[in-house]
């Protein structure tokens, strides 16, 4: 069965239709990349997939493991295995990082019918995964994302992904704001999570990320539609020639 199946998806924000009919199928083990001009609807797609209020699906279907998620709230989708690494991670003043991470992990474990992790074991696990991503202990003690630099926020997103082990991960411009070394570290973190257990949808503007996280498929989203799909070479083509030619041809 396909992991994620998006069929003729149309969605609007307020009265404005942003997604005009998207078809995309992702199987377990696959990494798909989406590229596209600013404002083409990439983040909108990521929000629609994760169930954000205010993003109304007017037509089409989203199936996760064969089941429609359209009637599920954001938290239910997450517990069903959906994950979004935000383009702009959200600061939560006053919400301690550790209790936030633990609440998230425990919610997922409860859903799977597994025991919640105890605090000590959890702290240990977080520290280990954080270290691999270059997230230092001091950051873990702070409120979620508060006072983090742009790059630190992105690492923290990937840390959450590593802890939650989603089946379908959407990464929205995880490379933006990362320096070269951080890009390599974060990419290694993402690559470590690649595998038969999950699929990934990587949204980016730059070929640079895709040389680290090499995608199986590349799609071009423009004006709320996927106008072209191909393999990793399509990303190179975009890098060299821009979108104009592709949009004209579509």
């Amino acid at each position: 069965m396909n992991l994620l199946e998006i069929k003729n998806l149309k969605a609007k924000i307020g009265d404005k239709e942003i997604l005009h009919g998207i078809d995309l199928t992702i199987n377990r083990g696959e990494v798909h990349a989406i590229m596209g001009p600013n404002g083409s609807g990439k983040s909108t797609l990521s929000y629609v997939l994760s169930g954000r209020d205010g993003y109304e699906v007017t037509d089409g279907e989203i199936l996760l493991d064969g089941e429609s998620v359209l009637d599920m709230e954001a938290d239910e989708r997450a517990r069903a295995g959906m994950f979004l690494a935000f383009q702009y991670p959200v600061e939560l003043p006053g919400v301690g990082g550790m209790s936030f991470l633990r609440a998230a992990v425990n919610a997922r474990l409860r859903e799977k019918g597994e025991d919640e992790v105890d605090q000590l074991a959890f702290v240990k696990m977080v520290r280990a995964k954080a270290k691999a991503l270059g997230v230092d202990d001091e950051m873990l003690k702070r409120a979620v994302n508060v006072g983090f630099s742009g790059g630190e926020k992105k690492r923290y997103e990937i840390l959450q992904m590593a802890l939650l082990e989603p089946t379908m991960a959407v990464l929205d411009e995880t490379d933006s704001g990362l320096d070269v070394d951080a890009l390599r570290i974060v990419s290694e973190g993402v690559n470590a999570l690649r595998g038969e257990a999950r699929g990934m949808l990587v949204i980016t503007h730059y070929q640079r990320l895709l040389s680290h996280i090499v995608p199986d498929y590349v799609h071009i989203l423009a004006g709320g539609r996927i106008i072209k799909s191909g393999d990793k070479d399509l990303a190179l083509e975009v890098e060299n020639n821009g979108y104009a030619g592709l949009i004209d041809a579509a």
Partner: protein, 398 residues
């Protein structure tokens, strides 16, 4: 043990003391605060059930440092108090006069409870005493329909340090405590008040701090219970180099009405005051914060801060804020602010996108919102009392 003059069949002050009789007349003449009374614009009082209780039976002394009151009367003697703490009944006009002199003139809450006084007690902490166990004043309601009007006068001697917890619960009708806390020079007081009365109760409290030079006061009120709560606090900073924190949180749901009113009165130079107020209102609850910071002409180098924030969880909830600065000195740093907001949709979505349920996410965000206020409580054991109460309140909402 340290106790004198605590009789179990006391003369009823309200029927004997000249001050009480006078207050009662005043109260009868003035009635409830009029519609145009500025101090009561946001909090309208309906008819009050005035049925002050008589002294009850004596009970067993509680654990160390706990004073239990029922319907405004102390139930236990003072034998569980530390040696440097003296408990006396305020029986004569002299001490009562000293107490009343601290109260604002012609004040509705003052005359209400002076005129209907139940028990009246003086608690003295000897100069330079360092009290290690918090003194807990635990007030419970009496019988259905009885009203409580305890008068409590706490004198903390110069250089003494103590922790006070006032816990009010179980009143079904009216509880109207009047408290004066007189802090001597260099005294260090940690004070928390938890108002967790029954859901039909009215709690109308007046607390006055009279603070001498270099004293360090950390006071916090958590208004959680009652149908109608008014927590009015006046702080007179009567000496130089005083540190005064006077913060609060209020929580309301259903039809609750919580009113926090403060007057921070800087009479002398070089003092610092800080007020952090946080309110969370659900359903049709209403919250009021009125805070005045007054800086007298001589009170140069005053640092007076005040910030109130209310969080509305429902469309029908309402928060009113009236922060006021009245400054007559020219070399001061004062600021105030008041905001009213809702939970941020982006915050909620971010948390839910991690699998955290909406209820859990809301609770975490409410806790995060309240943390700035709760963090003002510097004494750990006192802080725990309040955070448990807040935690229980949130658990009830699920």
């Amino acid at each position: 043990m340290a106790m004198r003059g605590l009789s179990m069949q006391p003369n009823l002050l309200r029927e004997n003391a000249a001050l009480c009789l006078q207050a009662k007349q005043e109260f009868a003449a003035n009635g409830l605060p009029a519609a145009k009374n500025e101090a009561w614009i946001y909090t309208r009082l309906q008819a009050l059930t005035l049925n002050p209780a008589n002294a009850g039976e004596e009970a067993q002394a509680d654990e160390a440092g706990v004073l239990s009151f029922s319907a405004g009367w102390l139930q236990t003697g003072g034998d569980n108090l530390p040696a440097s703490v003296t408990l006396t009944e305020m029986g004569d006009d002299a001490i009562l006069g000293e107490f009343a002199a601290h109260l604002p003139e012609d004040h509705f809450l003052g005359s209400l409870s002076l005129g209907h006084a139940t028990g009246a007690y003086l608690i003295e902490i000897a100069a330079n005493a360092a009290i290690e166990t918090p003194l807990q004043l635990v007030f419970e309601g009496g019988e259905e329909g009885q009203s409580s009007h305890p008068l409590i006068f706490i004198k903390c001697g110069a250089g003494a340090s103590c922790q006070l917890a006032e816990i009010h619960s179980g009143t079904t009708s009216l509880s109207a405590p009047v408290m004066v806390i007189d802090a001597g020079a260099g005294a260090k007081i940690d004070h928390v008040k938890l108002q967790a009365e029954d859901s039909q109760a009215s709690h109308l409290a007046l607390t006055v701090f009279a603070v001498a030079q270099t004293a360090d006061i950390n006071s916090f009120t958590a208004a959680i219970g009652a149908k109608l709560g008014r927590h009015e606090t006046h702080a007179h900073l009567n000496g130089e180099h005083i540190e005064m924190a006077l913060s609060s949180l209020y929580l309301g749901r259903a039809e609750q009405h919580q009113d926090i009113t403060t007057r921070m009165l800087h009479h002398m130079p070089n003092c610092t005051s800080n007020q952090v107020i946080r309110g969370v209102l659900d359903d049709s609850a209403k919250g009021v914060f009125q805070g005045k910071v007054l800086v007298a002409r001589d009170a140069q180098k005053t640092d007076g801060q005040q910030m109130s924030r209310a969080l509305l969880l429902s469309r029908k909830a309402e928060a009113d804020a009236k922060p006021e600065l009245e400054i007559y000195a020219d070399d001061v740093v004062c600021s105030h602010g008041a905001t009213v907001g809702e939970l941020d949709e982006t915050h909620l979505f971010y948390m839910m996108s991690r699998g955290i349920s909406e209820d859990d996410a809301k609770n975490m965000l409410i806790q995060a919102f309240l943390i700035d206020a709760l963090e003002q409580v510097r004494h750990e054991a006192l802080a725990d009392i309040l955070s448990h109460a807040v935690h229980d309140w949130m658990a009830e909402g699920l």
